[in-house]
C-alpha cells in the first residue's frame, strides 16, 4: 500500500471486480481495456473476477487508487512486464475524466513510472490513447511521453470509428545509470 498526499494506491483484490466491471462502458471506451484484437469486451462480473485471479506480470498488474475516505477514484496498471520484450504498457482507468487534472493523478503516474522502469526494469514505457481520451492524452504529454503515431479507425463502438494513438517514454539516461550503479 502506497500512501501519497492525495491518494492511496493498493493492489487490486477480487472484491474490486465489480468496480472495474463498471468501467467497461461502450459510451466511454477506455484504451487500456481493449483486448489484443483492439475490441472493447463486455465482460460479466465473473469474467472480470477470473481475469483478476491471474493478476501477475504476464497478464497485467492492476492497482486501485483511493482517496482519503476510501472511495475508489481509479484503477491503474501495467501489462507486459514479464514478456521477453523490454517494454511495458501502462494505463489509468478513472471513473471521471477530471481525475487526470487532479493531484492524485501525478502520484499515480509517479508510481507507474517507478514500477515500469525500476521494479520491472523495462527500458521503455508505452501507453495508448483513443481519440476520445483527451485528458489521458494531455496527461501523457505532460509526463514526457512522445507520440509514435496514430492507428486509424481501429475501434468501432458507439456507432463510429475511433483512432488509437500510441505514446512512448524511454527510461531517462540518469535513471539507467542509477539502476546500473545499484
Amino acid at each position: 500500500m502506497i500512501r501519497g498526499e492525495h491518494s492511496l494506491i493498493r493492489t487490486i483484490e477480487l472484491d474490486d471486480a465489480g468496480g472495474l466491471w463498471q468501467l467497461y462502458d461502450v459510451e466511454r471506451p477506455l484504451s487500456f481495456l481493449l483486448d489484443r484484437r483492439q475490441e472493447l469486451p463486455l465482460p460479466s462480473r465473473d469474467d472480470v473476477r477470473r481475469y483478476l485471479e491471474r493478476n501477475d506480470p504476464q497478464h497485467g498488474q492492476y492497482y486501485v487508487v483511493e482517496d482519503a475516505t476510501g472511495q475508489v477514484m481509479a484503477f491503474c496498471g501495467v501489462r507486459g512486464g514479464a514478456g521477453e520484450h523490454g517494454f511495458a504498457e501502462l494505463g489509468i482507468l478513472p471513473f471521471a475524466d477530471s481525475f487526470f487534472e487532479a493531484p492524485a493523478c501525478k502520484e499515480v503516474l509517479a508510481f507507474l513510472h517507478q514500477l515500469v522502469f525500476f521494479q520491472l526494469r523495462r527500458y521503455k514505457a508505452m501507453a495508448h490513447c483513443l481519440d476520445t481520451e483527451v485528458g489521458w492524452c494531455k496527461c501523457l504529454k505532460q509526463q514526457g511521453f512522445e507520440s509514435s503515431g496514430v492507428q486509424r479507425q481501429v475501434l468501432f463502438t458507439g456507432g463510429r470509428w475511433h483512432d488509437l494513438e500510441t505514446f512512448t517514454l524511454f527510461r531517462p539516461v540518469s535513471e539507467k545509470e542509477t539502476i546500473n550503479a545499484s
Binding site: 489484443r36 484484437r37 523490454g86 503515431g149 479507425q153 481501429v154
Partner: protein
C-alpha cells in the same frame, strides 16, 4: 481464388504442415518472426500445428491461414490474424518459403489477392501489418499496396543483441479501392504482360 498464373492462394490445410515446418530451418523465418526468437523448434512446431488446426472455413475464425501454392507445391504462407468481426479488421503477415520469389511479383500479387479476400470476402474495413524496420522488402510491399505507415516504434525488438525499430501499417477499404482502380487494367492479363506493365510503371516512377 486463382491468380492468372500457375500460382494461387488457398486455405492452409494440415497436409501443408510438413512444408511449413521445413521453412523453419531458414534462419530468416526466426528472424522475422514476432515474439521470442529463442523459442525452441518444438514450441514453434506445436504453435504451427495448433494454428493450422484452428483454420476453420465455417465459423468466424480469429485467424485464417492461406497457402501460396504452385504446381511444384506450396511456396509461401499468408496469415490473417487478430481478426476482429466487430472492428472489421485484421493483421496480415507474409512468409515466402521459396527465397527466389521473395522480391518478385508473386509476393506482391499474393498480398494483393489476400487483400481482395479481406475486403471483398471477409468484408473487413481495415488491414494492419506490424513489420520490423530491417524487413525492407515487406514494408515496401505494404507501401506499394497503398498502406500508410501509422506507427514508428523506436527500439522495439531485439535481434542479435541489437534493438531495431518496428513499423505498423494500416490499409483502409477506401485506400484499397484506389489501388484496385489503379490496377484495373491488369484484369485478365497474363503474368508475362502483368510483369511487363509493372516494369514499365516502375521505370516511369523512378527518376532518370
Amino acid at each position: 481464388m486463382p491468380l492468372k498464373t500457375a500460382i494461387y492462394i488457398r486455405r492452409a490445410e494440415r497436409e501443408d504442415l510438413d512444408t511449413i515446418l521445413s521453412w523453419m530451418d531458414d534462419e530468416d523465418f526466426i528472424r522475422f518472426l514476432y515474439g521470442d526468437p529463442a523459442r525452441s523448434p518444438k514450441q514453434l512446431r506445436s504453435k504451427i500445428v495448433t494454428l493450422l488446426g484452428r483454420s476453420s472455413g465455417l465459423m468466424m475464425p480469429g485467424s485464417i491461414y492461406l497457402v501460396i501454392d504452385s504446381p511444384e507445391g506450396p511456396v509461401g504462407l499468408l496469415a490473417l490474424q487478430k481478426i476482429s468481426w466487430r472492428n472489421r479488421s485484421c493483421t496480415i503477415d507474409l512468409y515466402m518459403g521459396q527465397k527466389s520469389l521473395r522480391n518478385g511479383i508473386v509476393a506482391a500479387m499474393a498480398v494483393y489477392r489476400a487483400l481482395e479476400y479481406c475486403f471483398d470476402e471477409l468484408n473487413l474495413h481495415r488491414v494492419g501489418a506490424y513489420i520490423y524496420a530491417f524487413n525492407t522488402r515487406s514494408w515496401r510491399l505494404m507501401e506499394k499496396s497503398g498502406a500508410k505507415r501509422e506507427l514508428l516504434l523506436k527500439d522495439h525488438v531485439l535481434r542479435d543483441g541489437k534493438l531495431y525499430d518496428m513499423y505498423c501499417y494500416g490499409l483502409l477499404r477506401e485506400e484499397f479501392e484506389q489501388l484496385r482502380e489503379r490496377y484495373a487494367d491488369f484484369k485478365g492479363m497474363s503474368l508475362a504482360d502483368m510483369i511487363a506493365a509493372h516494369k514499365g510503371e516502375e521505370e516511369a516512377e523512378s527518376p532518370s
